[in-house]
Symmetry: C2
Subunit: 215 residues, 2 copies
């Protein structure tokens, strides 16, 4: 399945780096747990980072009932969302050809508040699972009061494209003989040693689903 | 020095996590090499990730002459920029109190194109140094043709605030005895083993300023 190429999502520069393939786009959306949401406030641009999850063709965002962003989305206004993974610094022989390896998605859509209690409960499950598979079955699940204090919106992905750069630097032909180290410095976001809550008894051992993330 | 607290930059939720301190804000801006820039396109919100550097009270962005975003900024339009560092997953006993440790900045400003050749050259230096100190003195510097092919804008930071969360989870009093591992899983973006350009002779050794980044 492909998203339609629109004026806003087509790539004017490096169209070879673009993709409208749904599977490619959804894989990037699912790999990171936060995104940047851009919306209008008093007709001016505003952008904030927030946790997300994807459920089918929708982006799920949540937060406090009073959140300006969530109210704005609940009112049916369109947003633009960026999901960005930086994979490496591309070190060319010339400053000009330095670059990044990355996988990024920009998408557009408008949303609505999720009010149905069962669906809302499922969105919490989706968000928790997105960030840490296994956690939902371990932590105490939200009660009615907590559910009511939280607003959830579901944004239908209307337009989307991915932009991907991979591989070594590309220098001008005449620069290949310069004695400048060239290559890629890969970036890998790592979890480091978990820090146990000082208010918790040490008898409670680190669960396997967290250990699994520590390679 | 403090930035003025404005309607757009004040924190409605968790005001205790907010900071308007210039030093705090600039430290976050300088620690990461990319940001998300939000701007209007046909009166709709748009957001894209891009490399940045800070020079005094200005954010420097660069790209191809034809870039829609850079043209929009050069025309004097205001943008909103988010700089986000995710420091850890905060794992509470209850799903509701899960959170992130983070340091983020949201700033507003409008800019102009940098056209003076000397200043423009200095912005390339600043960007290169921001991403990898030492690289500017090693790689081939931009020539006139490359300078001319690149647009640079300088955005004066008019309003800015930081939002910071640190420390362990905070659960409801009655949940502290639940047998659920609680704590923080720190996130550290790491560089992994550099990948040498396959088109470069292996005689060229990895420079010290890159080795230094690999701890």
């Amino acid at each position: 399945m492909q998203f339609e190429k629109t004026n806003r999502t087509k790539l004017n520069r490096h169209p070879d780096r673009g993709s409208f393939d749904k599977e490619t786009i959804y894989k990037i959306i699912d790999e990171v747990f936060y995104c940047h949401v851009s919306f209008l406030q008093d007709n001016k641009p505003f952008v904030i980072p927030t946790i997300h999850a994807r459920m089918d063709d929708n982006i799920i965002l949540h937060g406090a009932k009073a959140s300006r962003m969530l109210k704005h989305i609940s009112a049916g206004n369109e947003v633009c969302i960026a999901i960005t993974i930086m994979d490496g610094l591309v070190l060319a022989r010339s400053v000009f050809h330095h670059s990044m390896n990355y996988r990024s998605v920009v998408l557009f859509g408008s949303g609505e508040e999720v009010t149905d209690a069962n669906i809302k409960f499922n969105t919490f499950h989706a968000i928790t699972n997105h960030i840490m598979p296994g956690r939902w079955d371990d932590a105490r699940r939200p009660n009615k009061k907590e559910m009511d204090a939280t607003a959830v919106v579901s944004i239908k992905i209307d337009e989307a494209s991915a932009k991907i750069r991979t591989g070594p630097p590309v220098d001008n032909a005449e620069d290949y003989d310069l004695p400048v180290w060239a290559g890629v410095l890969p970036i890998i976001p790592m979890f480091s040693e978990p820090v146990h809550d000082p208010d918790q008894n040490e008898d409670i051992l680190l669960p396997d689903y967290i250990k699994k993330l520590l390679k």
